[in-house]
Subunit: 149 residues, 2 copies
DNA sequence: AACTAATCCTACTAATTCAATAGAATAAAT
DNA sequence: ATTTATTCTATTGAATTAGTAGGATTAGTT
């Protein structure tokens, strides 16, 4: 399960991606209201995304946040890793949050691990090719599909 | 991330699958020691698996647990669901633990949900075709690969 | 019948992680 | 100066997960 933090991070970035062309900083409170994300929690999340190079910030009046890269260059796997969510279903197959199972006698011959490794690969394949732009495109597609446009 | 409970459940069932042919009940303490799973915790897990039809139990002296089905018929997705772990990365795409996102205006046009749906499908595809037998076969394969046999 | 070895059941507690909040410091625009 | 923002540090609350305790029940053995 994705943490709320990760979900909020993704939603906030999608919201910023929508206005990427404006090149005008967007305030925390604006995103918070639009996406219904608790103000102070979002604040912490955005700082973290900035520290990891996904956002630029501007302080003071008329300040706010901007994507640091083109929406095509920001992919889901990266966002999830920054916002603290391991992607793998077991620590022993995680690239970024690796930990051995205490009880495992021989990790390299563990059948369960082998399966979960496959799951991770399938998951990463999708998440690392899906950018903010892709998500926006999907939304357009879905709106058309449901005749909402 | 899989909970420890789920992981323990899977490991316990694999351990039972190895002795499936014996048709002799296996004691909790035996499994607990072999797999290094806390005794009392395992107890609760096995009862749940039994209540959900994956195990048969026999009380009293010489009692213990047996798989209720052939190891080929017990698949990972089922074990994980019983032991409480949702498989999907978001509640809004979960079949068995569905919950809408409070903040979502229109779920059916949510681009993020659409991607996560794809991830879930890829995951379930693997987990629901992998049985206890498959895992044992993988272990054999891995042992050969690493010349441990 | 008594004894022993096992699961079963109910309840509780501990530990960890997740989610959210408070409040003052700093920066920039007017 | 004043206002409008982000930034930083610290703390709290809530929920979930992990694990424990102890007695009731069942069945085999002598």
């Amino acid at each position: 399960m994705l943490s709320k933090k990760s979900k909020y991070a993704i939603k906030a970035l999608i919201s910023l991606a929508k206005r990427y062309e404006n090149k005008v900083p967007v305030k925390i409170s604006e995103i918070s209201e639009e996406e219904k994300i608790p103000r102070k929690f979002l604040e912490a999340i955005l700082v973290e995304l900035r520290n990891n190079g996904l956002l630029h910030s501007k302080m003071g009046a008329n300040g706010g946040y901007l994507l640091a890269k083109h929406p095509e260059e920001i992919v889901l796997s990266h966002i999830i890793r920054i916002s603290g969510g391991p992607i793998a279903m077991l620590p022993c197959v995680s690239l970024n949050f690796y930990e051995p199972c205490e009880e495992c006698v021989n990790e390299s011959t563990c059948g369960l691990r082998d399966v979960i490794l496959e799951v991770r690969e399938a998951t990463i394949r999708i998440l690392s090719k899906t950018s903010l732009s892709d998500i926006l495109q999907r939304e357009e597609g879905l709106k058309k599909k449901f005749n909402l446009i």
